[in-house]
Amino acid sequence: MSNDATDRGPDTISGGFAMGRRFNIGGMPAAPTALWLLALLLVLAAVASSWQTISAGRAALRAAGVPGGPVDAAAVLLGLLSVIVVLPLWRGYRRCGEVRRAAAAQDIVAARTARAAARDAAWIAIGSAFAQLIMVLGGQFLLANDQTVSKTFFLVPLMFKTFPLVLKAFWVNIKIFLMAEVLVLIWGLIVALATFAPGIAGRPLRIMATIYIDVFRAIPAVLVIYLVGFGIPLTGVPILKDLSLTAFVVIALTLTVGAYVAEIYRAGILSIHWSQTAAARSLGLSHMQTLRYVVVPQGIRQIIPPLLNAFIALQKDTALVSVVGVIDSFNQSMLIASNYYNLSAVTTVAILFIIISIPQTRFVERMMRRDRERIRAQG
């Protein structure tokens, strides 16, 4: 210990704490045996339970009179898929052997590399087996109690039989949300602009718009639908009372979602830096011209993702119109459910909503990711 480490006395900044210590990041590695055994255990459980579930499912389907050929083919295919999880386990086993050989040969780098690969493989096996066990649990739930669960929610023949009826009713949902979306876009912008009404003259308008936004964001949508759908006809107000029930629920949804969308527009407008307004006004553009040509076009770009999210929520909220007796898909499926004492038609509705929702959510995600990347590219 005669190098410069001794020169660094205790009163230096670096302190000399490390005097005499050797660089050490561990010695010769051993094979991750315990981890691999855990993986083995989970994989065995996953494969065994998968096969049990598949055979139980096969028996149930055959008992239900589904043709044997396709069922057997599906069972075999699933059975084969369920053993794929053994592959990483096997890879991990071979790597463990490599670790031992490298350790015997005193090759520390090779041993480390093999150990890392062995651990990776074992973790992959554990992760896959765990996911497989969760799926098995789901399958077991469907088969539980003599398959009553699957029959209650997924009675396929009934789903096919009632599908035309449900689909026709689903058009009502689509019609309602399309109309509401168009109205919401306009109404939300009007309300948002009202919150920016300038000067003292604009203050009453600003206050009213703010109250409207607060109130309608506070009331549950289903209450607004109920109040408008049942209340307005009772009031007997001319013109209004003669509108159709569909029109009432479109109005109700527009009122509710319009408050949210106004707030989204507002956020978009506020996100535009005041210097843009200053530049526009300094060129002689009026307040409205500035909003129209400079602020709103820039704000809209930023709010498309939250706007689409609000639309997706609105689409799902159309199922609430059943409370006032509109025969939408949910209401129709509930009628079917009480006739057949089976909920499969409701599942059909759920599937229809999933089909229209997921592409939109993916689209929004992609758009937001692109925006983030663009911002990062600029910075």
């Binding site: 210097s275 843009q276 530049a279 300094s282 060129l283 820039q298």
Partner: protein, 249 residues
């Protein structure tokens, strides 16, 4: 030929409790270039924004061509048509191409036909050597190019006076001269200009008058050679000395 163009009489302005301009009086003659220099916070930018009507004043009055432009009842939109302003941060509209930036106000405010406005915009862009960028968007251009477009955007309204608010402060050093060249050219053509600037060399070269602002008022004013060569008052001297020490002159 020099006739009184902008008269600023004893104006004051505060943001809340914080006074920014205190009894400021000054004037700009027609075809004159007046530079406002002074430490940050001395009120240069606020003064320009008051002349353009972007800020209201609490006291005093501003007259342009003898007509009072402050106080109630003034049509600020009409006022701004004739008084152009260029900002430190360019403030181009990022969702519009260069051509759209330049033609927006002529089309929407002056109600010029689109072809006429575009023709004029292209002529202006040609003069600053950016005609090939007409269809580009601002974020695809350098700061110097953006600032030149911002100047053209103000010029497209045919303003009687141009207010320049530290227009080179946000620029990389090598881009400053391309912007200053345009200002120099405008000065040669007789454009009336009032500029807040930290470019002392440029102010000295181009100005007909220099006003040193300190603490919200004109502390000392005079010909450029007088202010820069032989300042009379302490604060002016101290300011110019610190500028010299930073080698920014």
């Amino acid at each position: 030929m020099s006739s009184l163009f902008i008269e600023i009489n004893d104006i004051s302005k505060s943001y809340g409790e914080q006074p920014v301009i205190k009894h400021l009086t000054m004037s700009v003659d027609q075809h004159q270039v007046v530079s406002l220099i002074g430490p940050s916070g001395s009120g240069k930018s606020t003064l320009l924004r008051c002349i353009n009507g972007l800020e209201s004043i609490d006291q005093g009055e501003i007259r342009v061509h003898g007509d009072r432009i402050t106080g109630p009842g003034v049509d600020v939109n009409a006022l701004r048509r004739d008084i152009g302003i260029v900002f430190q941060g360019y403030n181009l509209f990022p969702h519009m191409s260069v051509l759209e930036n330049v033609t927006l106000a002529p089309i929407r405010v002056l109600k010029q036909p689109r072809e006429e406005a575009e023709e004029k915009a292209m002529a202006l862009l040609k003069r600053i050597g950016l005609v090939h960028k007409a269809r580009e968007y601002p974020d695809r251009m350098s700061g110097g190019q953006q600032q030149r477009v911002a100047i053209v955007r103000a010029l497209a309204m045919d303003p009687l006076v141009l207010l320049l608010d530290e227009i080179t402060s946000a620029l990389d050093p090598e881009l400053v001269s391309e912007v200053l060249n345009i200002v120099r050219q405008l000065a040669d053509e007789g454009m009336t200009m009032l500029l807040a600037t930290h470019e002392m060399g440029f102010a000295r070269e181009v100005s007909s008058k220099v006003c040193f602002l300190y603490d919200g008022a004109v502390y000392e004013e005079g010909l450029p050679e007088q202010i820069f060569g032989d300042p009379q008052r302490d604060r002016t001297r101290a300011f110019l000395r610190s500028i010299h020490e930073a080698k920014r002159i």
